[in-house]
């Protein structure tokens, strides 16, 4: 999944560097807060360990072929998500500089696609909540496989998005997606199974190595919010650029029936409809998902990000209100 420099435009590379810098700064802060000096050499040696194990081939049962470990999820399980993320950065930097595996300009994208999703989505949002209650082998296998598959699917999706936005390929979004996602489903499953085999072995032999980070803390609201916001910005700001201009499902159905995407022609609009349309035109900040009187693609991205933020704000607001009224009910109306 390592992207070469040729596959990315400088603007996209810069954006991905900025996103990684934010995640790395937060991780550095969290690791410093732990104030565990012993962790520094452990992280370094673990990165080298992951690098070395990436080069060992594992036979895939029943296929005659083999695959290898990527290591983002394993590093997070052993070191925690923040230290795991920083360790993965060093693995990717070394791979880029020494082995030309991934470009210097594309390093930000590669860190995001391979380290961010594995450490913060695969581990923090999937693996950790799943093994919180028990560390039974079945549960570990399920958590590792699910965590790896989702991380790799998101990573492959990001590669597709970044390459398409960079204007590198003549493939359409759908065609590129069909080339990337299925193969990474297989890779994700294998990665999950290898990770699970190692975690089960460690859990049976030296469980103290896993105790610090598993079955301990719930994923905090702030952490969830940060990860979801990052994904929303990527999808809202980036994916919106390659959104289809074809009519959506409802408009398509109307078009099939009436020959037009509108239910009725503008001349047949009643006074109320016209008034409502006038209000909408005056109040809409980003009409048709763009800046007023502008065709800039930036407008589409801003609309995506702003829309996501607004929906999140409304949902969180509703949840806070719901919690407030529930509390009041439980305390018999007394606050």
């Amino acid at each position: 999944m390592h992207m070469a420099d040729a596959l990315i435009a400088p603007a996209v590379a810069g954006t991905m560097y900025a996103a990684c810098a934010a995640a790395a700064t937060y991780s550095v802060k969290k690791v410093r807060l732990e104030n565990d000096m012993k962790k520094i050499p452990v992280m370094g040696v673990m990165s080298a360990f992951v690098f070395a194990t990436q080069m060992i081939n594992f036979s895939i049962p029943g296929t005659g072929s083999s695959g290898h470990l990527c290591g983002g999820l394993l590093l997070s399980i052993l070191l925690g998500p923040y230290a795991g993320f920083l360790s993965m950065i060093s693995v990717l930097v070394i791979q880029c500089l020494l082995f030309a595996d991934g470009g210097l300009l594309a390093l930000g994208s590669n860190i995001w696609n391979m380290a961010f999703y594995g450490c913060f989505v695969g581990y923090l949002l999937i693996y950790r909540p799943m093994v919180k209650k028990s560390m039974k082998p079945g549960r570990i296998i399920l958590a590792c496989v699910l965590g790896s598959i989702i991380s790799l699917q998101l990573g492959a999706f990001s590669v597709t998005l970044e390459t398409l936005i960079s204007g590198i390929t003549a493939l359409s979004f759908g065609q590129f997606l069909m080339l990337m996602q299925p193969i990474h489903l297989a890779i994700g499953t294998l990665e999950g199974l290898i990770t699970a085999a190692v975690v089960i072995f460690v859990n049976n032999t030296r469980p103290e190595l896993l105790e610090n980070y598993t079955a301990k803390n719930r994923v905090g609201f702030k952490q969830t919010l940060v990860v979801l916001s990052a994904v929303a910005v990527l999808i809202g700001g980036g994916l919106s650029l390659v959104a289809s201009s074809n009519p959506d499902g409802l408009e398509w159905s109307i078009q099939k029936m009436t020959g037009n995407t509108e239910v009725a022609p503008e001349s047949e609009f009643t006074g109320a409809v016209k008034a409502a349309e006038g209000i909408q035109e005056k109040t809409a900040v980003l009409p048709d998902y763009a800046f007023t009187d502008s065709d800039s693609v930036l407008g589409t991205s801003i609309s995506g990000i702003l829309g996501s933020a607004l929906v999140a704000f409304i949902c969180i607001g509703c949840a806070v209100l719901f919690k407030f009224f529930k509390k009041r009910d439980n305390s018999g109306g007394k606050l």
Partner: protein, 265 residues
């Protein structure tokens, strides 16, 4: 196992190249890092059909290979890592992009063909520039440059520690894998039944090694900061090197040199 031994060998070769005493090796690491990043950025920023604009950018790697005394062959074999994905994506361009651009005899050259060639050239240029940076600077000095750019010391220390322990752990992984291969000669990779125990054993050894490493670092006065490279001040020649290359890259990016040269032919 060939892959593991090759990796150790490649690291040693790059280390030896970086320790040589050529003029390019003496240039300040931060200057070389900036020049490399600007070069790659300028090269990949060309439009997918602008093959002619991209051609003059070959001047930088060619001059540097010559000045550093490095054989271009040592870099070419690294292309096998970069080119498969680039070609995989680029090969679809001639299939889907039929925009006719020009004719050579009776053959119509489409936009897809040009964009595929441009993509491969961009990949090759970027690879050569990164390779030259590492081969003339070395990881320790690159880390020093990153420190000057105010990258958090935890990240810089991690990169350095990983780099130092890669050869040790690659050799250890090689020993483990060779021992396994000798006992299971017909297996294509490690059998699934021992995935956990094989990697797990390697993991425990690494963890124990990390413990020993921490103890030895403490004995040497480690207090969270890792000192690794002598500080190096930028000299006049560093500035000349920096601004000359930046000037050339910006000129090549903004002026269509190939277009002017066409007049003479």
């Amino acid at each position: 196992m060939g892959k593991l031994t090759n990796a150790v060998y490649e690291i040693h070769v790059l280390d030896e190249m970086a320790e040589r005493d050529t003029g390019i090796n003496q240039v300040h690491p931060l200057v070389k890092l900036i020049v490399t990043v600007v070069y790659i950025t300028c090269a990949v920023s060309f439009d997918k059909y602008n093959l002619l604009g991209l051609l003059p950018f070959l001047i930088y790697p060619l001059i540097l290979f010559e000045l550093a005394g490095i054989s271009i062959k040592s870099c070419i074999k690294k292309l096998k890592v970069v080119l498969p994905l680039v070609c995989f994506i680029g090969l679809f361009n001639p299939v889907f992009d039929h925009t006719p651009l020009f004719k050579i005899g009776n053959i119509i050259i489409t936009g897809g063909i040009i964009s595929m060639v441009t993509l491969i050239m961009k990949g090759t240029y970027a690879l050569m520039a990164s390779f030259l940076l590492v081969a003339t600077t070395g990881i320790e000095k690159i880390c020093y440059a990153l420190k000057l750019l105010h990258l958090p010391s935890i990240i810089v220390t991690q990169i350095l520690l990983t780099y130092r322990y890669i050869t040790v752990l690659l050799s250890e992984a090689n020993a483990v894998f060779q021992a396994y291969s000798l006992r299971a000669p017909r297996e294509n990779g490690v059998k699934y039944k021992i995935w956990g125990s094989l990697i797990g054993q390697l993991l425990f050894r690494s963890m124990d090694r990390a413990g020993n490493l921490y103890d030895s670092m403490l004995l040497r006065g480690f207090q969270g900061e890792f000192y690794y490279a002598r500080s190096q001040k930028g000299s006049g020649s560093d500035y000349v090197y920096l601004f000359s290359w930046l000037g050339i890259f910006i000129a090549l990016r903004l002026i269509n040199i190939t277009g002017y040269l066409k007049v003479f032919f």
